[in-house]
């Protein structure tokens, strides 16, 4: 199966690999997927408490090239966005940007889940209700 140039670029030069200190109140962590399914994504955001803007985002992913590229792209898009703006990132935007084939759509779904999961973690750490409006794709 041929990968798109953008997937290859993110796989070869992944943006924002790393780990943020999850004990900090300003950091939200999302860990989604499962090892036995062959995909695990961990996505972290650091939110500026004064402005509410995501000032840093990091990821680590166990998975295929498309899963790595989806999470790498997600961290790029998250930086500089407010939480509410971040929630508008749709998995189909990722599919489009990376030209993912149908069998790889689940990678983009996982990246969107990871974003929501990281935001919810941040919200609950800061005394806010977690968002219940999880989209159902699958």
């Amino acid at each position: 199966m041929a990968y798109s140039e953008k997937v290859i670029d993110h796989y070869t030069n992944p943006r924002n690999i790393g780990t943020l200190d999850k004990s900090q109140k300003s950091v939200g962590t999302g860990l989604v997927g499962a090892p036995e399914c062959g995909d695990v994504m961990r996505l972290q955001i650091m939110v500026n408490e004064e402005t509410g803007i995501i000032q840093d985002a990091k990821f680590k992913t166990f998975g295929c090239g498309s899963a790595i590229a989806s999470s790498s792209l997600a961290t790029e898009w998250l930086k500089g966005k407010s939480i509410n703006e971040a929630l508008t990132i749709d998995n189909m935007d990722i599919v489009e940007e990376l030209a993912l084939p149908p069998v790889k759509i689940h990678c983009s779904v996982l990246a969107e889940d990871a974003i929501r999961s990281a935001i919810n973690d941040y919200r609950s750490k800061n005394g806010l209700e977690p968002l219940v409006s999880e989209k159902t794709h699958h």
Partner: protein, 404 residues
Amino acid sequence: MLKLPVYLDNNSTTQVDPRVFEAMTPYFLEVYGNAASKSHSFGWAGEEAVDYARCQIAGLIGANEKEIIFTSGATESNNLAIKGVFEMYSSKGNHMITLTTEHKAILDTCKHLEKSGAEISYLSVAEDGLISLKTLEAAIKPSTILISIMFGNNELGVVQPIAEIGAMCKKHGVLFHSDATQAVGKIPVDVLADGIDLMSFTAHKMYGPKGVGALYVRRKNPRVKVTAQMDGGGHERGMRSGTLNVPGIVGFGKACEIARLEMADEYLRLKKMRDRLEAALLSIEESYLNGSNEHRLPHTSNISFKYVEGEGLMMGVKDIAVSSGSACTSASLEPSYVLKSLGLDDELAHSSLRFGLGRFTTEEEIDFTIKTVKEAVFKLREMSPLWEMFKEGIDLKSIQWSEH
């Protein structure tokens, strides 16, 4: 000079040996007669070429040339053996025994026969991929007509105790079929010494052309027959109709002759390179060999690199043609059933690569492979959350994973 990409997928198929190719060429433009045409010299020349190849092929496996039935490949041979025995011996019983680690051409054929009243026992193998003889013997019943067990496994390279199984089958009066697709031409195979009654093999796994294979069918002690699965001209002693693929058969014959003459040297050369590759890759932390180390084909190595996903790894080693037990590309998202049959966690099955060396593999290619795979594993572990957790001492089994 190292030429990229490096081909290490010789369990899938092999390059045709130039000597085989050369032997085949006259049979396209010059000697093009139908081997079944008895009335003119074109036909006679074709028949002569086929008879010669039959002897070359029989010579490699210790058979008589009359016991070779030509087919289109190992999948057809497996179908003909299993369906043909089931139909031919239905008055004796309806039970057959096979393994869960067999090729789909065996498993799906068995599933098909279950709809026609066959009873099939699919036996599990041990952690090392080998069948226990005790388990096998215990599965034999009065209604058992056939045991079908692969000689060398395509994914793992594990070689089953074929001669012992052959002797057991003889003792119980059960026919023994072996899918020897990966073994013939690589390790000594002798249908007499191994007690094999039917055996499937194919040219393209042993440096011959694609589209031609054979089913060995024993003629003496016992005389075995299979019911034809295609109706037609009654070729191949009535067991397989269809005009013979003369150029393919000539190439198959030549490939067998080369294998017979060069196997001993080639075995040692490939094993030495494979062992060097394997030792280097197993020196990577948390990497594991899948399948028996001892009972194995000389050219195959199946290794799991824990905390790295196989398809992602293949992308990192794109200049090396290998295959992975990960099935991320398949719709089912199920990893290899063969690796799962060994009791491997799905996670380890997802993390595996199969290296299949061949006649044309060079030491330089092995050096390149070692370097490239190591770099890719290290790079992917740096971005693997599972590796980070492992390093922090977190038990991955203690985490509530979200299924998707």
